[in-house]
């Protein structure tokens, strides 16, 4: 596949993820406005943080009366998974430090998983292509939520909260079809996450689930 093909494929897949992203961004806009953030702050957050999980973490902690420090810790923990994810991406990006740092900002969950081709480096064009529609949808959805949230009603009533995890599940099924090690890594990761959810701050179960990759690999090399 040429780079242009990769980029176009990425945009096409990214449009699929843009819809649930848009719905989630609308609900973030509504939540933030209801919490008294005004109009500008939620939109700025969606542009400069550009992360649903971190933005909801901030809103939830501040909304429950928590301090800024508590909100920051919660959001950073929730996004700590991007540390190992960024290592995985490292060799796929191009150019000097500044350019690499900027391109790395286009790393979001769905695009990262899409750009993982199994063995070898990630596909940079696929990742960038798939993030662009999601970025537009995320910022656009926030604007709609802030200004027109009341007119939309509760998206959960329509089952729209199913869409995001269902798309992740689709990416997961694709991974599981690659082989047995992937299935083992997933099984261990799921068990670790389930065990930790009641006891740890949000975000920790996801980071800890990376242990599934290590254990699955060790299982193979000892055979």
């Amino acid at each position: 596949m040429t780079r242009d093909d990769s980029f176009r494929d990425g945009i096409r897949i990214g449009i699929g993820f843009a819809l649930p992203g848009f719905v989630l961004a609308v609900s973030f806009g509504v939540l933030a406005r209801d919490l008294g953030w005004g109009v500008v702050a939620p939109i700025v957050a969606s542009i400069i943080v550009f992360s649903g999980s971190a933005q909801f973490a901030i809103a939830n902690v501040l909304g429950a009366g928590g301090s800024a420090a508590a909100a920051i810790v919660a959001a950073v923990l929730v996004n700590a998974r991007f540390a190992p994810m960024s290592v995985a991406l490292a060799s796929a990006l191009k150019g000097g430090r500044v350019r690499r740092a900027l391109e790395a900002q286009l790393n979001v969950d769905a695009s990262w998983a899409i750009a993982n081709r199994g063995d070898g480096p990630f596909d940079r064009e696929l990742m960038i292509g798939s993030t662009l529609p999601q970025l537009v949808a995320w910022v656009g959805g926030t604007v709609v939520g802030v200004f027109a949230g009341d007119a939309i009603g509760d998206p959960d009533r329509l089952g729209l909260d199913v869409i995001f995890p269902a798309f992740f599940l689709w990416l997961l099924i694709e991974e599981l079809r690659r082989g047995r090690q992937q299935v083992q890594a997933a099984a261990i990761a799921g068990a670790v996450a389930l065990l930790l959810i009641p006891f740890t701050p949000p975000g920790v179960p996801i980071v800890a689930s990376c242990v599934g990759a290590l254990v699955a690999l060790r299982g193979r090399s000892s055979r």
């Binding site: 990006l93 740092a101 089952g159 599940l169 009641p198």
Partner: protein, 102 residues
């Protein structure tokens, strides 16, 4: 309002640093084979955890509700190689119907 802006600003900066960390610190250098193999297995691990957290938990509580069932229906349909959008639509419709009944 100050807390909102402080939180957004600081999280944006830290988030930037986390996402940039791998590509900036490692550059484009070749990683050892062992690490590459771990990395290839990170995707199924992290995706599983994201699905589990999204569908089976509400803060610290484990839950099973209409959303859980909807996602399960979507997953089973996808595994049967039904086209993606049809499977997602069926899952969302399942959750919506369950919420009306309930």
């Amino acid at each position: 309002m100050t807390a909102v802006w402080v939180s957004i600003g600081i999280v944006a900066v830290i988030n930037f640093a986390i996402k940039a960390s791998g590509p900036v610190l490692l550059g484009g250098r070749e990683l050892p084979d062992e690490l590459l193999r771990v990395i290839a297995l990170l995707a199924p691990a992290i995706l599983t955890a994201l699905v589990v957290v999204d569908t089976l938990s509400d803060d610290h509580h484990l839950k099973v509700d209409a959303q859980t069932v909807g996602v399960a229906v979507a997953g089973a349909t996808m595994a049967a190689r039904v086209p993606l959008l049809a499977a997602v639509g069926l899952g969302a419709a399942t959750a919506a119907v369950l919420r009306v009944i309930h």
